[in-house]
Symmetry: C2
Subunit: 342 residues, 2 copies
């Protein structure tokens, strides 16, 4: 019996009290005479309502068991305000995830947002990662390669500036999903361009660099099916060759995993045709970027489990994609599941 | 008998005299006491040598007839120096293409680079477009959506700032390939990230905007197989739906075309599975970004005709992709070919 683990969900439907906190922060940024918010007003009933009528309902309807759950990605908005604003916002967002996990420990497991801020060292995010993993029981984090929100002013992910954070990730044995947030650059629609571009960009940075030589145990999930990478897999194999890099299998793919947030059958078919089964984790990003029903199929675009079911995978491969790979990439998830007798 | 027209080739192998011109420009930028270059020293024999041992040799070896040929994209580098530098560089690059076309009128047809420069109105590129089309006989242009070279400081392509140029394109009845140049942002590898991101970004801008309502006859080729778009076709259909945009077929795909610069069979298979045959133009970007031989096939990565041949298209579809669509998207190419009795 395979557990169906969705590696990619955000709390996009959080109670209004969370948004009110953010609104108060923004009011303070505009007029420092306005007080900073101190806490989030949201009852357990509000959280239950928001989860049971959305993520949990759809999780069950689609036949999945568990979502690796993190704060709303587009709302991280690390480019808004100061580092202190980002720290406070991140903390309440992560605490909200913890409340969901405590209410539904069998259906949700936490992954944290980080208090990144443009121009601020990633070392300043280490404490929140540690708090979330060791105190809240989270199993990973979302790392934003562009906290400027579409201006790309940070160094590449392979730069040593990121290393203090990677050291902590390895020490805690948690992976990061590479996930940008909203865009404040009019060129980039957030979910239609910025997200996908960031995925592609990160992968190419890993080809150019030697990060996994320095951190052989570091693990990243590149979401949205790896951006453009599987579609251009020949290009990336060819560029690695031209740049005299090792074979991608050894150079990148021991450490990088793609989710299945690709919202049509042909895309999923391609993903599974070119990427090794050990590098693919089931994910849907539900409820997320694309919420409608595909008129061509009559099903939700983001009901990615349907596309995977249509692949007719062997039992062994199916187990990897839905459960085994997630337990391997997120060892702390594996520990928690074992503690639950699963 | 179908002509095999490759819609995407750059003069990546130009004689050393062209590069010497650029080097002199850069020396002048560094030290204004250094003189600006006045002309390019390159003999017809040098051009013949560079073409016959590269593009023409491969064109013939791969069974193609004609390449729509433009200056080296990565060398446009609109972010280097001033507008005057860009104007001078653009002019000599375009003149070099004209010399190739004059030497091999049956095998190459010209598309021009534009004298874009960050922060400079695209209206200032109108004159060079007009010169290249009306005086040099070129049939299209390469439009850079990000002349800053990876900082994305221009407005989106749907912004009215671009309209003066679109008016001239429509008047001259020429399409533009949307093609960025080199990247001066360390996050973006030029051919591995910046190119593909720009393709994806442009497509999403077209979804968000209403450009083709204002310019129903405007035509763009998005190269590199449309960036990430075909792989995420469900995402784009779903986003158009969420944004209350018309069906992509009517909203974008009457005006936007993808080339086949996707360097492996599974990618090409996907492209043809999800994108209408009328929107696909054969292209290889040879000799370009990926020059090696795929160890998995024993053939050049960028020999995209092989992937298309493997599709076993109907004669009608094959004719569209290799010839008909190109003649329709580039009406001035059609005119020239007819003048040649082809």
């Amino acid at each position: 019996m395979t557990l169906i683990i969705d590696c990619h969900g955000h709390y996009t439907t959080a109670p209004a009290g969370l948004e009110a906190f953010r609104t108060a922060q923004k009011a303070h940024l505009k007029d420092p005479a306005q007080p900073l918010p101190t806490d989030v007003k949201a009852s357990d009933d509000e959280i239950r309502e928001s989860i049971e009528s959305n993520q949990l309902k759809l999780l069950k309807a689609r036949g999945a068991d568990l979502t690796i759950f993190s704060p709303r990605a587009s709302a991280m908005a690390h480019h808004v305000g100061t580092e202190a604003i980002s720290q406070a916002w991140t903390r309440v967002c992560n605490d909200m995830i913890k409340r969901v996990v405590d209410l539904y420990p069998e259906n949700f497991i936490g992954v944290c947002q980080l208090p990144q801020s443009p121009g601020v060292s990633i070392a300043n995010s280490v404490a929140e990662l540690e708090r979330c993993v060791t105190e809240l029981g989270f199993v990973g984090c979302n790392l934003n390669p562009d906290p400027s929100g579409g201006h790309w002013t940070s160094p590449p992910l392979t730069d040593k500036a990121w290393y203090p954070f990677y050291e902590k990730m390895v020490e805690l044995d948690v992976p990061a999903m590479i996930h940008v947030s909203g865009s404040c650059n009019a060129n980039f629609h957030a979910t239609g361009a910025h997200y996908i571009n960031a995925d592609t960009t990160a992968f190419m940075q890993f080809i150019e660099g030697d990060l996994f030589k320095d951190f052989p145990d570091l693990r990243f999930i590149i979401p949205h099916g790896g951006g453009a990478v599987p579609y251009h897999w020949g290009r990336y194999r060819g560029l690695a060759d031209m740049l005299k890099r090792p074979h991608l299998r050894d150079h990148v793919m021991k450490n990088v995993f793609f989710d299945t947030c690709v919202y049509h059958q042909p895309g999923i078919d391609l993903l599974f045709r070119v990427i090794d089964i050990d590098n693919i984790l089931f994910g849907s990003e539900m409820v997320g970027a694309v919420r409608g029903i595909d008129p061509e199929t009559g099903h939700y675009f983001d009901d990615t489990k349907r596309y995977l079911d249509a692949l007719k995978l062997s039992d062994a491969d199916r187990h990897k994609v839905f459960e085994g790979n997630a337990r391997r990439v997120y060892p702390r998830l594996d520990q928690i599941l074992k503690g639950q007798g699963r």
